[in-house]
Structure formats: structure tokens, C-alpha cells
Amino acid sequence: MNFDFSDDQKQLRDEARKFLASKCPPKAVRQVLDGKALYDKELWKGLAEMGFIGVAIPEEFGGTGAGHLELCVVAEEMGRALAPVPFSSTVYLAAEALMLAGTEAQKQKWLPKIASGEAIGTLALFEGSGNPTPKSIKLVANNNTLDGTKKPVPDGEIADFAIVAARTASTGRDSDIALFIVDLMDGGVTRKALTSVDPSRNQAEITFKGAKAEPLGAAADGWSILSQVLDRAAVLVAFEQVGGSDRALEMGRDYALDRIAFGRQIGSFQAVKHMLADMYVSATLARSNCYYGAWALSTNASELPEAAASARISATQAFQHCSKNNIQVHGGMGFTWEFDCHMYYRRSNALALSLGSLSYWEDQLIERMRKKNAA
């Protein structure tokens, strides 16, 4: 059994960590958090040059063709550094959708631009409150033109193109939903910034009025493709969450070692030690579930839907747990804008919702386990 990343993959992790430590310190995250930029353009360019954006994109489409295990490793580091760039929307959602369902021409058009950092992509799925279900999609597609509104769309203000989930019929079946590619620079698209719990990542409302769209995949397969994309993204976002959990735990541990109260290190009090031990437990369970997700993702295993849901739930819980208790360990200082704790707290709660809520994924996991059990 070799249930671990390879030495080459670990080396890639070290490179990514080093790169991000130098190019994406907390003050770079704060530029976006404080509204001075919509995303970190320099960092985005650097990530492309390092080959990190195209790590899972085949060489023929401008990527490095390394693979999805390598992408998991990079994702963990992106989460750890709270990278304020449209990585998850472009790479986990848009590029994955194109690789799964795109025609040769569509892949040739967008994937090389993604890998080189020239194009930012996103998935326009949600329409207000609710979780990913066919029923929740009201935006209408008619003769390859779209009408309707999507929100929140991650990185919606800065994306060059979007994969849009749209309704083509109202039979109540999954086949009512189709996917389209929309060049957001074309007419019929208006965007509006949204404020969110995590301003270090962009969120927008996008309204389509007779916007020209190109089908992605067969019209009847939209929901099926979308489900696969969400599962794949769930594993990748989970690695970001694990990276963030580890960093939040380290911050808490370091503060507990440095801070003196009642004449001793606060990390010598059992109440604090046990809180940090529990954070370690959550982060470890999440990491192990994520490794299984990474295996399923990289091998296209039939276990992917269950593995993805497990990774998603476990990592969501871990990041929320570690980031909130990191603030608790820091006491009052943890609640200042100046300390970085709130940036992890914000990101953990934004990622917890990014692909549908925790309760949605809990339901998905048990539904998938139930089906397997019945089979």
C-alpha cells in the first residue's frame, strides 16, 4: 500500500509553499480584503509562470500535464496561503468542466489561455439561496441565448468566461438542465459586485439578457456533467480547506506558546491544550479523507462520488473548527482586524458554502452510501 503522495509530489508541495510564502504573504491577501484590488494580478501571473494553474491540464492544451494528485498538492498550499486569486473557480470548476465535456475546439480555445493565466473562468450555477439541484435553476436557454440571473458567482466580476447552468425544458427531469459557455466580454452580460463574508475573494451577480452562449456537452447531459464537476471540485476545495486548517492550527499553537498569562504560557493550560488537540484531530481526519478523495479523483474511480462527499464534509468541518478556535486561543487579539485570524475564519465559512452547504453534502454522502449498500 502506498496511500501517500510521491516524493515528486511532495517536492512540488514544497515549491508551491515556498513560492506562496514569498509572493502571497498575509499583506498581499489584505490588498484584496481591503478592496484595493479585485484579485492579486501579480500572483496570478506568477502562478501561471510556475505552471501551477495548468498542473492538471494536458500538455497539448498548454498545461504541464502533471495530473490531479499534483493539483491536490497545489490546492492545499493555495488554501494555506489564502491566495486571493480566482484559482478554484478557474481551475477546479471551469477547466474541469471543459476537460470533462468540451469539444476539441472549446478546449483549444480556453484551456491554453487558462494555463497561461490569460483567461479567468468560473461556474455560474447558483440563483440565490438553495443548494445545487436541477429545480433551483431558473435561468432559461433558448436557441443558445441565455436569460436570467446568477448569484453568487465566484470571481464573477473578473472572469473572462463562465460555464452557465441553464434550463432548456420543464419536464422535472435532470435532462432539463444544459451547460453553456458564455464569453462574458460579449453583449447581454451585466455584472454587479456582491459583498460577502470573505472579501479576499470576489463574488458577483451576473445578469444575462439575450446573451449568446455555446453548448458545453450534450444538452441533456448538463446536470450529469455538473454533478461530476462538483464532485471533482469538492475534492480540490477540500485540499484548500485542509491547508487552511493546518495553518489555523499552527497559528493557534504558536500563539499559545508565545502568550503569557497568569505567569505561564497559555499553552500549558489544559483547557487550551485540549482545544488545540481537538483541532489536530479534526485536521487529521480531514486530511485522511482528502487523501482518499485524491486517489478517487486521480484514478476516476467509481468511488469518487462517495469519496468526494466525505472529503468535502470532513474538510469543511475541520477548517471551520480550526479557524474559529484559532480566534478563541488568541482571545481578544483574535478579534482585531490587525491579526490574521479573521481571514481564516472568513475563508473557512466562505469555502463551506462554495459548492453547496454542509447539510447538502451530508445528504449527498448518505444517499450515495445508501445506493451502494442497496446495490
Binding site: N2, V281, Y292, S359, L365, N373
Partner: protein, 415 residues
């Protein structure tokens, strides 16, 4: 990243699988599969006899304690081969519960500290299950703080005279030998005055009283020592060095990797798949699903954490600290799972009889046994301390008795 065996591992697995298929007591397979915490029953058989017979059969073919040296009753298997053996032995491994303490803790301590003659004499029958060993550590005044123990050993010629009491000794009532930690010098700080021995449990002056547990069963005992003589030749380690010897024993307890810790989740999932609530099948209920999902990811998280440790062993590396979370997670989880499974049964959940209760009363048995899982082998609180100190590098607790002579440490919290 893969789950594949190396060619050598695959060959070892095939050999183990073939032998088990030909030799395992399959008539008990179903009962063993159904066994859960607090309820292990073999129809029409005495589990002690079945367990001893299986162990002896394994020993005769060299499978008893595969990772021990051949001279001591093993086959010199590598750490990963040990794990592969456990995986292949599967439910039949549950029969080994009787020998876990002897083979997992007493044996390695003997290997590290007994004389060569003693090892060759005592270890093979421990491996084969002909002798059962117990570990005499905990005392009424020394549980988590085991170094607070008060059982005295006093030198008398070439012998030591033992007086005192041990508690929570698993299987003392059917054990042939035991390893015993005692206080030989009460005038020095507590960790410094301890000495380890092994002894024949049939020695005059040893009295064993079963403890009636809170769940009504009796797995543990109190062991009383009244002027029990132990030859100095049965001392393990130097006089006053018993604490270090005990750390070897306890370290081995934590080295057992790949052993499945019971979480109760498979039982709960199966139950939820069959239970019908007022508004339909339990498995379709949103609240039930949410609970199940939370436990599902803890169970799978533990499983894949152990896979990570196994992978390290496969590469010849030492597993990382992540394995230390196992009992901490599983212990409280099985208690919560049992409580919830019973809640799903409504008022009928109060019934615990195998004929009346849902799922044959397994969750009621689990509920009543589970408080012990959070205490035995290290309380949840001690385990959190270990993670905080050894994994996260946080400071140790302030020990007010560290430099105080043992006989000056207060013994009562309130007058």
C-alpha cells in the same frame, strides 16, 4: 498513490490467506462478525477454549505472533507483514482479544528486559496462547497517574516481598503470569522509586477478585498481594528504573497499528437502513442523514488515517503521530452512536433484552460498555495531553509532585 501490495507483500498476503482459508474456525465466523462492543457470544462454545485452540493452531504453523523473532515463537515478519496478517485474519482476530495484553505489552517488555534463558522459556508459550499474561499497573491511587502507585516491594535475601493492591487488571482471573510494577523506595520522588517484575499468578499470597462493572459484566479484576515472594531473578530492569521499563510497555501499546478500532458506525448504518420511522425509512430522514454523515466521515477518516500509517510501514518508515487520534475519536464516537441508535428506537429503546430490543439489544450493550472505552488505555483527557505535548509541542503540565519524596505527597483531597 495506490492501495496495491508490493510483490513481496502480495506473496505474504497470499500465503496468509491460503493458510487461514484452510485452518480458521469458520463455524464461528458469523458470530464473530456480529460481535460488537459489550456483546461477544459464540453459540454453543466457550470463547476462552475456542480462542486458545485457534492461537495454538496458529503457533504450530508459525502464525501466532508473526512479527516476533522465530526463537521466541514468531516468524520474524516485518511490521507491514504484521498488518497484512491482521487484515487477512479479519474477524478471527477478535479471538485474539484474550492475548492482546500479554503479546502486545508483556511480551515486548520481556524481550527488552528479561534474560535470554527467560525469553526462550516464557515467550513461546505466551505466543502460542498456552500461557496468558496480564499487566499489573493500575492501582486505586494510580490510574492516569500510574506513577502514584503504592504497592510495595521490599528486599528479603534473594527475594522481594510484595504487599499491596492492583486494579483494572484485564483477564487476571485466567492469567498464568503477569508483569508487575511496584514501589521499592518511597523516600524519593515518585518516578524514581519504582521497580518492575514478572511473576507467576499462582504464587502464594496472590488473590484475584473480579470487579463487577457498571454494565454488569466482569472483564477486569482487583488483585491483592499479601507477602508474595518474587525471586530477584524475575526483576525487569534495574531497581528504581521501573518507570522507564513501563514506558517500553506503554509505547508498545501505542505501536499496534492497523488494528480496527470499533466506532459503532457500521452497526448504526446497517440499523438505519432497516429501521422504519413513523414518516418512512430512517435512512431517508434528513435529521438521521445528517447524524450518519457526521459519523461516516469520522469512521472513514480513521480508516484512511490507519492506511497512511500502514503506507509508512510499507516503505520501512516510522508512522507519523497521526495514529494517536484513533482511540480518542472512536471512544467517544461509539458512545454517541449507541445513544443515538437507541434514541431512534423511541420508548422501546429502554429494552435491552436480546429478544425484545431492536437489533438484538446490541446498541444497549454498546451504550452500557462504552463509558469504559473513554477511560481504559488512557483517558480522553490523557490522550489529548499526549497529542498536545508530543505532537503539537505544547508545554507539559505543571507537576507539583515532581520533586517531592513520594511519602510526602498528600493522599487526600479533603480532610
Amino acid at each position: 498513490m495506490n492501495f496495491d501490495d508490493t510483490p513481496q507483500e502480495a506473496a505474504f498476503r497470499a500465503q496468509a490467506r491460503e493458510w487461514i482459508a484452510a485452518n480458521a474456525p469458520k463455524q464461528y465466523e458469523d458470530d464473530l462478525r456480529k460481535a460488537s462492543l459489550g456483546r461477544v457470544q459464540l453459540k454453543g462454545a466457550n470463547i476462552l477454549e475456542v480462542a486458545k485452540a485457534w492461537q495454538k493452531k496458529k503457533a504450530d504453523a508459525g502464525w501466532a505472533v508473526p512479527h516476533w523473532p522465530k526463537d521466541y515463537g514468531g516468524r520474524g515478519a516485518t511490521p507491514i507483514e504484521r498488518v497484512i496478517w491482521q487484515q487477512e485474519e479479519g474477524v478471527f482476530g477478535k479471538l485474539g482479544a484474550l492475548f492482546i495484553i500479554g503479546q502486545g505489552m508483556c511480551g515486548p517488555t520481556m524481550m527488552a528486559f528479561a534474560s535470554e534463558d527467560q525469553k526462550r522459556h516464557f515467550l513461546p508459550p505466551l505466543a502460542s496462547g498456552e500461557n496468558v499474561w496480564c499487566q499489573l499497573f493500575s492501582e486505586p491511587a494510580g490510574g492516569s497517574d500510574v506513577a502514584g502507585l503504592r504497592t510495595r516491594a521490599e528486599k528479603d535475601g534473594d527475594d522481594w516481598i510484595i504487599n499491596g493492591q492492583k486494579i483494572w487488571t484485564s483477564g487476571a482471573h485466567y492469567s498464568d503470569y503477569g508483569i508487575l510494577i511496584t514501589r521499592t523506595d518511597p523516600t524519593v520522588p515518585k518516578h524514581k522509586g519504582l521497580t518492575m517484575f514478572f511473576l507467576d499468578m499462582k504464587s502464594p499470597g496472590v488473590e484475584i477478585k473480579p470487579i463487577k462493572q457498571a454494565n454488569g459484566q466482569s472483564e477486569f479484576n482487583e488483585v491483592y498481594f499479601t507477602d508474595v515472594r518474587i525471586p530477584d531473578a524475575q526483576r525487569l530492569g534495574a531497581v528504581g528504573d521501573g518507570w522507564n521499563v513501563s514506558l517500553t510497555t506503554l509505547m508498545n501499546e501505542r505501536m499496534s497499528i492497523g488494528a480496527n478500532v470499533a466506532t459503532g458506525f457500521p452497526e448504526l448504518f446497517e440499523f438505519a437502513n432497516t429501521l422504519i420511522l413513523d414518516d418512512g425509512p430512517a435512512i431517508d430522514n434528513a435529521a438521521v442523514r445528517s447524524k450518519l454523515a457526521n459519523w461516516a466521515v469520522r469512521a472513514s477518516g480513521l480508516k484512511y488515517t490507519s492506511f497512511r500509517a500502514i503506507s509508512a510501514l510499507s516503505k520501512g518508515e516510522r508512522p507519523g503521530p497521526e495514529n494517536s487520534i484513533g482511540k480518542l475519536v472512536a471512544g467517544s464516537m461509539i458512545q454517541d452512536v449507541a445513544t443515538y441508535a437507541i434514541d431512534l428506537q423511541g420508548a422501546a429503546g429502554v429494552m435491552s433484552g436480546a429478544d425484545d430490543a431492536d437489533a438484538g439489544g446490541k446498541f444497549q450493550a454498546m451504550l452500557l460498555r462504552s463509558p469504559a472505552t473513554r477511560v481504559e488505555g488512557g483517558t480522553d483527557e490523557i490522550l489529548r495531553n499526549i497529542i498536545a505535548e508530543r505532537v503539537l509541542g505544547l508545554p507539559g503540565d505543571i507537576r507539583v509532585d515532581k520533586d517531592v519524596p513520594f511519602n510526602k505527597i498528600p493522599t487526600k483531597g479533603r480532610a
